[in-house]
């Protein structure tokens, strides 16, 4: 290690070695809004540690501030996440408002929410507003799926996918329905294209279901997955695996460089993982939506930590899957 790097964290030292330090944003293409931590599920890997009893839900004032920004700044992509964002009382109003600006609006769903009372009309609502649906669907086998997301969640998710297919989602040239795979354990995801072919074949053969693309995500050592790594004795090995798999090509394309993440309370973050770690935008950038400044945030220095190795391991990982070839 060169003299003078001792003050840097291990991830930043990897950036230095690949001439990417400091990591700086290159504008705001994706405006990601976390509408709250409340969720009808409590998955074992969840970095948000979301669940039915979480009180943190974005209020109407913050929601209005987000919508105002979407209208004013004309972000190309609005990415809505949670928790189960659908459980926020202002969800539909926010989705419609974002869609009316012409932005590409993506909503992340755990699927099973569609089976809860009052949410069954969401597929047609999404279809009417041409919303891109990104659905958590970690595996095509029930036992693996339910180990991660809870007993019965596979059957519910299959039912929800059928509702989405019936609303025009997932068909060739139809509305976009992307699935998200993440490993059910302490290992890295496989190549996106390889596992996508498995999902397409098995979901078609077993359930006559269709989807657009499959994204592979690496489990971040954050939240409940970090708890699992600790309790199962996998933490050191997993972190070592992430660090050894550091890929400069993935680091150059990490999602935080073109994403701004808003928390339920209006806090600004470089990504949803930093949000869960309480690491707000820093290095002189505004860290609250009420002090939003496009110029400053568009070229802000990213806040990094050891968890960032999760986004740069192997083919890389982002909210839209791998970033360095698949």
């Amino acid at each position: 290690m060169a003299t003078g790097q001792n003050h840097l964290n291990r991830f930043d030292r990897s950036l230095v070695s690949s001439e990417l330090f400091p990591l700086v944003a290159s504008g705001i293409e994706v405006f990601q809004v976390n509408m709250g931590m409340r969720c009808n599920q409590a998955c074992r890997h969840c970095h948000v540690e979301a669940g039915p009893s979480r009180p943190e839900v974005m209020g109407p004032e913050t929601l209005d501030a987000c919508l105002e920004l979407v209208k004013r700044e004309r972000f190309p992509v609005v990415d809505i996440t949670g928790g189960a964002p659908e459980m926020n009382p202002g969800y539909r109003r926010f989705v419609e408002g974002c869609a009316s600006t012409g932005a590409k609006v993506k909503t992340r769903t755990n699927l099973t929410i569609l089976l809860e009372e009052g949410y069954g009309s969401l597929p047609s609502f999404w279809a009417e507003n041409r919303i891109e649906v990104i659905a958590s669907f970690p595996y095509y086998l029930e036992d693996v799926f339910d180990r991660q997301r809870g007993r019965g969640s596979f059957a519910g998710s299959i039912e929800a996918l059928k509702m989405l297919n019936a609303s025009g989602y997932g068909a060739l040239d139809g509305l976009v329905l992307n699935l998200v795979y993440n490993p059910c354990g302490a290992f890295l995801p496989p190549k996106q294209k390889a596992i996508e072919a498995d999902f397409r074949r098995e979901l078609e053969r077993r359930h006559n279901l269709r989807f657009t693309n499959l994204f592979t995500l690496t489990n971040m050592p954050v939240g409940r997955f970090l708890d699992f790594l600790r309790s199962s004795g996998n933490l050191d090995r997993y972190m070592e695996r992430l660090q050894k798999s550091y890929n400069p090509a993935a680091a150059a394309n990490v999602m935080c460089r073109n994403t701004l993440s808003v928390g339920w309370d209006g806090g600004l973050y470089d990504c949803d993982f930093n949000q869960m770690l309480g690491l707000r935008c820093d290095h002189g950038s505004p860290d609250d939506i009420r002090r939003f400044n496009a110029a400053a945030l568009g070229e802000r220095r990213i806040v990094t930590g050891a968890h960032c190795f999760g986004c740069t391991a192997g083919a890389g990982s982002s909210c839209t899957g791998s970033v360095a070839g698949c």
Partner: protein, 110 residues
């Protein structure tokens, strides 16, 4: 308790090259090429390696290729079938030598 096999030793594999760096370099390059995508996919090669690891009963290899199989997208059912292939060949190899036993017994008998 001391054992002949320590999981930490897997990470020290490269140290075997310290006294013979050129040989290690050649081995590493060849090993990497063997497992690269070719006529067989990386996933297929990892499953073969997992089966062979069980046949040669190498705990390091079982550890490494269980992880590799998972990261290439194989599931537990597929990996278990691969282990059965190894077991069938190992068992079959023992059993087929029974023909030698029969031949020897027949020759020795009246």
């Amino acid at each position: 308790m001391e054992t002949y096999y320590n999981p930490e030793d897997l990470e020290k594999f490269a140290s075997i090259g310290e006294e013979a760096p050129e040989l290690w370099k050649k081995f590493s390059a060849w090993y990497g090429a063997v497992f690269a995508e070719g006529a067989l996919s990386e996933r297929e090669k990892a499953l073969i390696a997992l089966a062979v690891a069980h046949a040669v009963q190498c705990p390091y290899c079982i550890d490494a290729y269980t992880q590799a199989c998972l990261e290439k997208g194989s599931n537990a059912a597929q990996m278990t079938e691969a282990v059965h292939v190894a077991a069938a060949i190992k068992g079959g190899a023992a059993l087929v030598h029974g023909v030698q036993m029969k031949n020897t017994a027949a020759k020795a008998g009246m």
